[in-house]
C-alpha cells in the first residue's frame, strides 16, 4: 500500500515538474532549445505503466498544458493524444529497445508532433513558425536518456528500499 502511494507520488511529481520546467524562463538564445518536457515524461510513463496512462489521460494533461500556456485550447491535447497513441501502439517494442534506439524513436515522435503543430497552425490561420521551430525535437532526443535514466533510477531505488 505504502509502495503504491510512493509510486503515485513519483508519477504526479514528475508530471508537475515537467509543467514547471516547461514554464521555466531561459536566456533568449536558449529559448528555442527547450525540449517539450511534458511529452518526454508522458512517453516514459506510457512505456512503463500503460495501465495508468491512456489516451484520456494524455488528453487531460494536454488540456492542463493548454490552460497554462494560454494557447488554443485543445492544441497540446491533440498533440499528446496522437503521441501517446503511437507510443502505446508500439510500446512492446519500444520497451526493449536499447536506450540509443529509444532516443531515435523519441526524435521520430517529436518530429511527428512538430508536423502536427504545423497542421494545426495552418488550419487555425496562425503564422507558420521559423526554422528554429525544428531544433527542439533534437534537443528532446538528447534529453531523453537523462529523463529515462533518472525516472528509472528513482523507481528502482524505491523498489530496492521496499524489499
Amino acid at each position: 500500500m505504502n509502495r503504491r502511494r510512493a509510486q503515485a507520488w513519483i508519477f504526479i511529481g514528475s508530471l508537475l515538474l515537467a509543467f514547471l520546467l516547461q514554464l521555466m524562463p531561459l536566456p533568449q538564445p536558449l529559448l528555442l532549445l527547450k525540449p517539450w518536457w511534458i511529452a518526454l515524461v508522458l512517453i516514459y510513463w506510457s512505456i512503463e505503466t500503460p495501465d495508468r496512462v491512456g489516451l484520456g489521460f494524455a488528453l487531460l494533461i494536454g488540456m492542463c498544458g493548454d490552460l497554462l500556456s494560454g494557447q488554443l485550447l485543445g492544441e497540446q491535447a491533440l498533440r499528446l493524444v496522437v503521441m501517446s497513441f503511437i507510443v502505446l501502439r508500439f510500446r512492446s517494442r519500444l520497451r526493449f529497445f536499447p536506450i540509443s534506439q529509444q532516443a531515435l524513436a523519441v526524435l521520430g515522435l517529436l518530429l511527428n508532433d512538430r508536423i502536427v503543430v504545423v497542421m494545426i497552425r495552418g488550419f487555425s490561420g496562425d503564422p507558420i513558425p521559423t526554422m528554429g521551430f525544428w531544433i527542439s525535437p533534437f534537443i528532446g532526443m538528447l534529453a531523453w536518456p537523462f529523463v529515462f535514466l533518472l525516472l528509472d533510477d528513482v523507481r528502482a531505488r524505491l523498489r530496492a528500499q521496499e524489499s
Binding site: Q28, D66, R91
Partner: protein
C-alpha cells in the same frame, strides 16, 4: 512490473489502444479547438481556472527570482558602487531633461489654450513587474503581476522606459498576459517622426526585428528614422517611440519599399513595465494636423486597430 492482462499483449498487432478510441479522442480535441477558435471560450475558462494557473506561474518564476536575489547578495561592493554611480549619472541627465521639459510643457499648455485644444495628454500609469516565465518561445507573450484586481483591462498598452512593448491580451485575477509588438500576429500603427509618414509595423517573431512591409516606394524614409505611435486606431496613445529603421529594401513585387526596424523598448531585458490607463479617445477620424501637409493624404485603410485577430 505485472500488467493487468498479460494475455492481451501482442508484439505487432493492435495492443492496448484501439483506433476507435483514438478517433473519438481526436474528434473531441478538434471540436474543442474549433469551439475555442470560433467563440473564444478559453478566456472565460482561463479566468475560471486562474486560481490554479496563477500559483503555477509564481512557482515557475521562483528559481529565477532566487537566482536574481542570490546574484544581488553576492555582488561585490565595487560592482554596486559602479552601478550606483551610473544610475546617479542617468538620474542627473533625466532630471535636467525633465526640468527642460517642464518649461516646454508650460509653454505647450499656454499655446494649447490659445488654440483651444481639448485633448489632454495626462497619462495614468500603473507600474507592474514581469513574472519571469516563458509561455511559448514562438509566441511573444509576457506575464505581468497585475490583473483585474488592479483594474487592468484587455487592450491597455504596455511600455517600458524606452518605448512601447505591447498590449494586454488577457487578464486573470492577479496576473495578466501581454502580447509583445514583435509577435507575428501583432501590428501597430506608427508614423515616422521626421517626416510624419504613416504606416503599420508588424511583428516578425524575432525579438529584435519589426517589419514595415508596405511603404510607398516614393516616400521619404531612410535608415535611422525613428518610429513613434501615430495614435490612430485608438489603441495606443500617440507619440511613444516604437523603433528605429535599420534596413530598407524593395519587397518581392517591387511596388513597395519594405523596411526592417529595431524595437525601441528593451523587450527581452525589462523587469518593470508601465501599464497605461485607458485614455479618453475621441471617436471617429482624428482631427487633421495643420502644420504637416504630408500627413492628411494617406489612405484611410491605414487606420487599423492595434492588433489583428
Amino acid at each position: 512490473m505485472p500488467l493487468s492482462n498479460p494475455d492481451k499483449i501482442f508484439l505487432f498487432a493492435e495492443g492496448a489502444v484501439s483506433t476507435t478510441r483514438l478517433i473519438a479522442y481526436l474528434t473531441l480535441t478538434m471540436i474543442i479547438m474549433v469551439i475555442d477558435h470560433r467563440a473564444g471560450y478559453l478566456e472565460s475558462m482561463r479566468a475560471f481556472s486562474g486560481v490554479l494557473v496563477e500559483p503555477a506561474y509564481r512557482i515557475a518564476a521562483l528559481p529565477s527570482d532566487v537566482a536574481r536575489a542570490g546574484r544581488l547578495a553576492v555582488a561585490t561592493q565595487s560592482q554596486l558602487v559602479d552601478e550606483n554611480r551610473k544610475l546617479r549619472e542617468a538620474l542627473l541627465l533625466a532630471q535636467v531633461r525633465v526640468n527642460r521639459m517642464s518649461a516646454l510643457t508650460a509653454q505647450n499648455e499656454r499655446l494649447k489654450k490659445l488654440l483651444d485644444v481639448q485633448k489632454e495628454l495626462g497619462l495614468g500609469v500603473h507600474l507592474a513587474r514581469l513574472i519571469d516565465i516563458d509561455l511559448d518561445p514562438f509566441r511573444h507573450r509576457i506575464v505581468i503581476d497585475a490583473g483585474s484586481a488592479q483594474m487592468i483591462k484587455v487592450g491597455q498598452p504596455v511600455l517600458d522606459a524606452f518605448g512601447i512593448m505591447g498590449q494586454i491580451v488577457e487578464v486573470l485575477p492577479n496576473t495578466s498576459v501581454a502580447l509583445l509588438i514583435t509577435d507575428p500576429t501583432h501590428a501597430i500603427p506608427v508614423k515616422v517622426r521626421r517626416t510624419g509618414l504613416r504606416t503599420i509595423v508588424y511583428g516578425t517573431g524575432g525579438i529584435n526585428r519589426l517589419r514595415l512591409p508596405n511603404i510607398p516606394i516614393s516616400s521619404d524614409i531612410k535608415v535611422g528614422d525613428e518610429l513613434v505611435t501615430s495614435g490612430l486606431g485608438g489603441r495606443f496613445p500617440a507619440g511613444f517611440p516604437v523603433g528605429e529603421i535599420v534596413e530598407i529594401s524593395n519587397d518581392e513585387s517591387g511596388m513597395f519599399a519594405a523596411a526592417i526596424a529595431k524595437p525601441a523598448a528593451a523587450l527581452d531585458r525589462s523587469g518593470e513595465v508601465l501599464l497605461l490607463q485607458d485614455l479618453p479617445q475621441p471617436m471617429g477620424p482624428p482631427a487633421p494636423q495643420h502644420n504637416d501637409p504630408d500627413v492628411g493624404e494617406s489612405p484611410a485603410s491605414e487606420e487599423q486597430d492595434g492588433a489583428m485577430p
